[in-house]
Symmetry: C2
Subunit: 203 residues, 2 copies
């Protein structure tokens, strides 16, 4: 088994943290996005949509999409559960995972990809107006998240889950997107400080 | 149990088709998006991110996000399985579901929301350049999908799954987005014709 990985990519980081929380170690194969290796025929044969990460099983089966890779590992090693151990946990975690992806992770990435000079070649055309349009979306959802985290140690299911991983990776990408968590959002800041202390977040 | 629903919304249609395939009937509560009912305090109390659909259980629990609502019904009524009956089915379906969402469903919606006059109030600001930037993404993924469907009756797992629902809803939204399936994409056209004959697609 091996994982095609690009160290700086948020979706790759989500999978690496997920694996670290499970205590699973697998060989990483570095894909150099700066050299556009993910757009070359060799990688396109692995993933036709030209994205990392991709997991290759020993029988040659390829699994792409970070959430599908996480589900594979949850299925083959259910503990510790990061996608939920009961029906209502699984549903609540999927709901929060989605909310965070659609209202935080993707808007933060849009701000970054459509404004940062380093992305001029990869995100073509860059549309600065689309970057700007996503900034208030990020702020608006941060307000909802801050209120939600008041009195909660983790985002949902009263334990650390994949939703916390998605939120952490998105929030840590505020810096390259040249955004910050407003200092009055004390519940997010407390959550972020505590979750960042987990060893898995260095993965 | 009741489902807050807006008939024309693709994410609501995904859930309605999913329920029809399961043979599940539940009361629908219409949310009038044209009157911006989803942005009023009454609905915000149900879903703070102001989106439909939302499922309210008999004990008052609210489940939002279409994929989380689908997962709830898959969990309480596993047959017919639309999210996968085995580990490798579940992983393959999640992979395709994601690919279709990120590379087809969302780009089609971006083309529509940022170009159609009817969306001027709801999608503010509309960014025509973002609509244009998504058109080649749609076409590029349709090529991959057409090739994938060569010799396949369904998108994955050799049966009808939630991935087929997501693809159908996205493709049926090409028309309001003022796009079409190119006539040379005969495998997509064949698949679309056959899947559209299912009674559930009228839901």
């Amino acid at each position: 088994m091996k994982l095609y990985d690009a160290s700086v990519t948020p979706n790759c980081r989500r999978v690496r943290i997920f694996l670290a929380e499970k205590g699973i170690t697998i060989p990483l194969v570095a894909v150099d996005l700066a050299k556009l290796e993910h757009k070359k025929p060799e990688y396109e044969a692995i993933n036709p949509v030209q994205q990392v990460p991709a997991l290759e099983l020993d029988d040659g089966t390829i699994i792409t999409e970070s959430v599908a890779i996480c589900r594979y590992f949850e299925e083959i090693q259910p503990k510790p559960s990061l996608l939920g151990a009961t029906i209502m946990e699984r549903v609540e975690i999927e709901m929060w995972q989605r909310r965070l992806e659609l209202n935080l992770f993707m808007p933060v990435m849009a701000v970054f990809r459509h404004s940062h000079p380093a992305m001029a070649e990869m995100e073509s055309p860059q549309i600065p107006a689309w970057s700007e349009a996503n900034k208030p979306r990020v702020l608006s959802f941060l307000k909802i998240l801050n209120e939600h985290l008041r009195g909660r140690y983790f985002i949902c299911a009263e334990k650390f889950t994949v939703a916390d991983i998605t939120a952490l990776v998105a929030l840590d990408f505020l810096r390259p997107a040249r955004l910050t968590i407003p200092e009055e959002m004390i519940h997010i800041l407390r959550w972020h400080r505590e979750v960042s202390e987990r060893a898995s977040t260095k993965a």
